[in-house]
């Protein structure tokens, strides 16, 4: 599994998504083909690191490996270029986590493979 995540490290560390070379549309997660104009001329592009909360939930029953964090916030965030990312929101007062809240990207431990496996890092967000 570590390799599956390693492959995405620039996506995870820097929110590198896609930009269409023909119509300029931007996407996160990355795409193979432009969802606006259909072009296959796609390049990597770093997304804005700030945005706002479109909707959120507080998850009480998480996936295996995330138990220690529960309950934690997950949100669909609209980045400042209009693309959307699903992410945890951490280090933020409860009252600040709401629809429309401004957030910024940070890098955190995303998954840890037990006591001896690798640590995978990735984006999370916090309210500003």
């Amino acid at each position: 599994m570590t390799i599956q995540y390693w492959r995405q490290r620039d996506r995870y560390y820097r929110l590198v998504g896609s930009a269409c070379s023909e119509c300029g549309a931007e996407f996160f997660p990355p795409v193979y083909r432009c969802k606006k104009c259909g072009s296959e001329k796609i390049t990597d592009k770093e997304m804005p690191q700030t945005g706002k909360v479109l909707t959120y939930t507080r998850l009480h029953e998480p996936l295996p490996g995330f138990e220690a964090q529960a309950p934690f916030y997950l949100a669909v965030i609209t980045l400042d270029n209009g693309t959307r990312v699903l992410s945890q929101i951490v280090d933020s007062p409860d009252e600040s986590v709401k629809t429309g809240a401004r957030v910024r990207a940070i890098v955190r431990r995303a998954r840890v493979d037990g006591e001896s496996g690798q640590i995978v890092y990735g984006y999370k967000f916090c309210t500003v």
């Binding site: 620039d10 560390y13 820097r14 951490v90």
Partner: protein, 347 residues
């Protein structure tokens, strides 16, 4: 001559600090282990359960790079004693997150002074012309054994510095530094041990004071500087008392050290301690101000720096959050939450 000074002076082009969001009042620790009272410091900064030296170094590194405007880093050095991996460099993960690949990347370990020696190494690489600019980070998620005196102060945080050729936007020039070391076993952590061990009174006179006094006095002697030449002084802060005492012995006043004295509010951030103290000073300093910074690392040694603030400092204001603003953005936790965050509970 023991002074380390590059022919072409290197300068701080950008800096960024990091203090985690969570604070543990030391009364919480005392409640559990002494039935009341507090530690020497008021609070300590605690990394969350999904933070480590890598994530914190990335945050501080990003701020430093942003302020510097530097596109390409010739070096990424992370000084820390809390590497997430015993074998797998912290610095490559930081470099990747910063989009840097053609770079000399390494982790440095020297207890609490690995951050300042990272600054010296990058200064040397820049001064020699080998690189245009590099990143030096001092960052730790220090841990004390539950119930140990160290638990009151062992904290998380640090700062990052982009050091490069002195251009018109440079924040401060690193004029020179000294290092003084000896074989002194005041504090150590054996391989495979979870928590460090330390000797009690031995950590003071023969360790902290002896090495800092030597590095600073050497700096004074060889530059001709005296304490009154400096607007600010930053000393390594294992607790609130030692830096005040060493300042007094060396002829510095409380006024000179108070800006960089963060231990009462965040604890001892180990390799991050002197660098983040310097960041707090730079947040307030004016062009022309001279700063003395002297770190201490157990084992043992001290690096003393003479830094002069430049005009570029004014343009750097407001680019990054100040240390003060990071101290204000935080929330208190109790001992049980801290235990969960720092992996002291085993299921």
């Amino acid at each position: 001559m023991h002074l380390m000074q590059s022919k072409e002076r290197a300068a701080i082009l950008g800096y960024g600090a990091y203090v985690p969001y969570y604070r543990l009042p030391t009364t919480e620790i005392a409640k559990v282990w002494k039935g009341g009272g507090s530690g020497p410091n008021v609070e300590k900064a605690v990394a969350s359960m999904d933070e480590d030296t890598v994530t914190m170094a990335i945050e501080a590194g990003r701020e430093a790079v942003k302020m510097s405007g530097v596109q390409s880093l010739g070096a990424v050095f992370v000084g820390t004693e809390s590497k997430p991996y015993a074998v797998k460099p912290t610095s490559t993960m930081v470099a990747q997150a910063l989009g840097q690949h053609h770079t000399l990347a390494a982790d440095l370990e020297f207890a609490c002074k690995a951050g300042t020696e990272a600054m010296q190494v990058v200064t040397g690489l820049v001064g020699s012309g080998m690189i245009e600019a590099g990143l030096a980070i001092g960052m730790d998620t220090a841990q004390g054994r539950p119930g140990d005196d160290l638990e009151y102060t062992a904290a998380s945080g640090g700062a990052a510095y982009v050091i490069g050729r002195r251009g018109k936007d440079a924040v401060a020039v690193i004029d020179c530094s000294t290092s003084f070391v000896s074989d002194t076993g005041d504090f150590w952590r054996r391989a495979h041990e979870r928590y460090p061990r330390h000797l009690s009174r031995f950590t003071g006179e023969p360790a902290y004071f002896y090495h800092i006094e030597n590095s600073v006095k050497t700096l004074f002697k060889e530059t001709g500087h005296k304490p009154s030449d400096f607007k600010y002084a930053v000393f390594h802060q294992p607790n609130p008392r030692f830096p005040v005492e060493v300042a007094s012995r060396l002829g510095f006043t409380m006024d000179q050290i108070k800006t960089g004295l963060l231990n009462p509010m965040i604890g001892n951030t180990y390799a991050g301690s002197s660098p983040i103290g310097l960041a707090a000073v730079l947040d307030e300093a004016r062009p022309g101000d001279k700063i003395l910074m002297a770190s201490f690392g157990s084992g043992a040694g001290s690096d003393a720096f003479c830094i002069e603030v430049l005009e570029g400092i004014e343009k750097s204001r407001g680019v990054n959050p100040t240390v003060k603003s990071m101290l204000e953005r935080g929330t208190k936790i109790d001992y049980s939450t801290y235990s969960k965050f720092r992996d002291k509970l085993h299921k």
